[in-house]
Amino acid sequence: MPTIFGMPPQVLFGQLSLGLINGSFYALLSLGLAVIFGMLNIVNFAHGAVYMMGAFCAYFLLNGIDLPIPWWMAGHFSLMNIHFGSHLSFWWALLLAPIIVGAIGMFLQRVLIARIAGLDHIYGLLLTFGLAAILQGLFQNQFGSSGLPYEIPDGLSGGHNLGFMFLPNYRAFVVGASIVVCFATWFVIERTKLGSYLRAATENPSLVRAFGINVPLMITLTYGFGVALAAFAGVLAAPIYQVRPLMGADLIIVVFAVVVIGGMGSILGSIVTGFGLGIVEGLTKVYYPQASGIVVFVIMAIVLLIKPTGLFGRAA
């Protein structure tokens, strides 16, 4: 059997593909973090929680929401549910969930996050950490920790044998969708007029305000957009990972490391680093699986030693 560096090619390419799928999620999430950080100067700790809410939103859109009356109130023999019916497919969820969760995000930004503008950055981190705890705790209470099933959409079930691995169609779609959305975002911010306002408002808010642009509204919309990106990732995740209250809790730490490696200043940087680290993780799973959980953090330590501002970062 032919091997590449001592590994059969199907194992190598298989894990690389899986790494690319994971990288799709890293890229979407770190992109959202970078967008929010650029505009609000806040590290959004609640990013994992909104990713989770995106997945739950997809679940609700498909199955409706059951709000059960506790069994001790409903009596022993019946379980009463107030059911808000809905049967919207995965495709609708992909469109609607980011809008709904983004709206919730904008609401939270207006009533809570806006109040700490101008304070030390630490408080933004602490506030969003608290928000994440509230959101995750609420979902855990309502739905338990072990998760709800979400079927792979009919059009994307099955898969193709690529020779080196059996690639499920849905996972291939995830990579494609992530690449399209990431580069569309990059294009809007770096190449359009709207984007130029955004970048200008980041650099010098008072000047942009003087031009008659409503900066607070822009900040709110930006936060909403960053959150919507995370929710989009959540919808993509729903069919392959279980829809679980803590699905974003661990992921966000890895994404933080991705952001530190890439440097927060750069939109393109966060996209490239996201995909790149997914692939590096996949490689690690082939050659030294025990280290796959820590490789991102090790790379982060090395980058910090060599280039403290991150690979694509500007000097602070």
Binding site: L79, Q140, S145, R171
Partner: protein
């Protein structure tokens, strides 16, 4: 200041702290602590359902009519051994718990067993699988009901290897239970002439099994043994289907499968799986009657799992022993009585509690029905083989439990 008096007062206070819980003579109050996973991957297989089962046992014992006060307290160990040990210590010290039941998650169960022994109370694990609980880590205070890793390994591993599944690859949950299950199954597979090609450890509560499954697929093993439980088992089976592993001809062997797992996966995914269990609700009139009573009381209205059935039988037998002893406070004494009394209940039939704390009862090899074969709700299993009580568990001659004299 009179130092002597101060010293005496101090000593008095110290002893009151140390001995407060066991000070009452002829204690007619029994507190049952259900140290369980109330919110995570074992919440459906144990959880609040085990409290329901324990309450049914209290009712059926008829002891409350004779003047005993019996209550159940549930606590969430979050699948963390440190939380489980602290909760147990606190239940015993502050709530005066006399017996701890169920405790799925072997890592937590081993921690709880140590605390219970130190406090001389009783521990009846019915949801924890590690055979070490009646092996190297056995105590005079532990009685292990329902399944253990030896039983599961010999039931499923033996049957599949004998049927021709000679090469195995394991996906193993990275804690006491998973490792024990893998080790026990490996021994059986090798004894039956099979080989083990490799294994992968995954953390508890893993969402994505794709990279593990890819390795299992690449190993070309005939059988992929799942040495995990609950949500982890469900996820690995579903994703194995997604990656075309089942269609590719490899057999998936879940070594521990609960009826609630089958319910969550649906028969379309689960059909054809073969596994070992100590209890199924639809075995005979006794189990059916009890299970329907349970289903009505269970908040989620699930049929009972084998762990919950074990919680019922264990509490029932415990209460019989306490009534005979007359006082629950000396745990080792109660357990000695539990070992002297033969067990008898509608769910597991007649059996005994061995010197190592192992309860013996028959084990069954089941196959999950196809959607067409299933005639009514929860009609999920068909019986393939029965393993008699004396063959189902590790023989005392192989035991490494210090209580077994050789």
């Amino acid at each position: 200041m009179n130092y002597k008096i101060a010293g005496l007062a101090m000593a008095g206070l110290m002893s009151s702290v140390a001995f407060a819980p066991s000070a009452l003579a002829a204690d007619k109050t029994i507190v049952i602590g259900n140290v369980n996973d109330m919110s995570s991957l074992y919440a459906d297989t144990g959880g609040i359902g085990s409290e329901v089962a324990a309450k049914m046992a209290i009712e059926d014992s008829g002891m409350e009519k004779k003047g005993w006060k019996i209550s159940v307290i549930s606590a969430d160990h979050q699948n963390k051994p440190d939380v489980g040990a602290t909760l147990t210590r606190q239940l015993i010290d502050e709530k005066h718990a006399d017996v701890i039941i169920d405790t799925p998650n072997s890592g937590v169960a081993l921690a709880v067993a140590a605390v219970v022994k130190e406090k001389n109370k009783v521990f009846i694990p019915s949801g924890a699988a590690s055979a070490a609980l009646t092996g190297a880590a056995c105590t005079p205070n532990t009685v292990h009901w329902t399944y253990d890793t030896y039983e599961l390994a010999h039931g499923t591993g033996g049957a599949i290897t004998r049927a021709g599944g000679k090469s195995w690859f394991f996906l193993t949950a990275d804690y006491a239970f998973g490792k024990a299950l893998e080790a026990d199954t490996t021994a059986v597979v090798k004894a039956e002439g099979g080989t083990v090609l490799g294994h992968d450890l995954h953390p508890l509560n893993t969402a994505d099994f794709s990279s593990f499954l890819l390795q299992a697929q690449a190993s070309k093993a005939q059988v992929i043994g799942l040495a995990n439980a609950g949500g982890d088992t469900i996820n690995s089976i579903k994703q194995a289907a997604e990656f075309g592993i089942i269609k590719g001809g490899q057999t998936i062997a879940p070594l521990l499968l609960f009826i609630t797992d089958v319910n969550a996966m649906g028969l379309k995914v689960a059909q054809g799986l073969e596994f070992t269990s100590s209890f199924y609700w639809d075995m005979n009139d006794g189990t059916r009657a009890w299970a329907k009573r349970f289903q009505a009381l269970d908040p989620a209205h699930h049929m009972p799992t084998q762990g919950q059935a074990g919680a019922y039988a264990g509490v029932l037998h415990y209460l019989k022993a306490v009534e005979k002893v007359g006082d629950p406070s000396d745990g080792a004494k109660v357990v000695a009585e539990m070992k002297a009394l033969p067990t008898d209940d509608p769910l597991f039939g007649k059996g005994t509690v061995r010197i190592d704390g192992r309860v013996t009862h028959p084990a069954y090899l089941f196959k999950v029905k196809t959607p067409e074969e299933s005639k009514y709700p929860w009609d999920y299993y068909k019986l393939v083989a029965t393993i008699p009580a004396d063959k189902a568990f590790r023989p005392l001659s192989e035991s490494d439990c210090p209580l077994v004299k050789k």
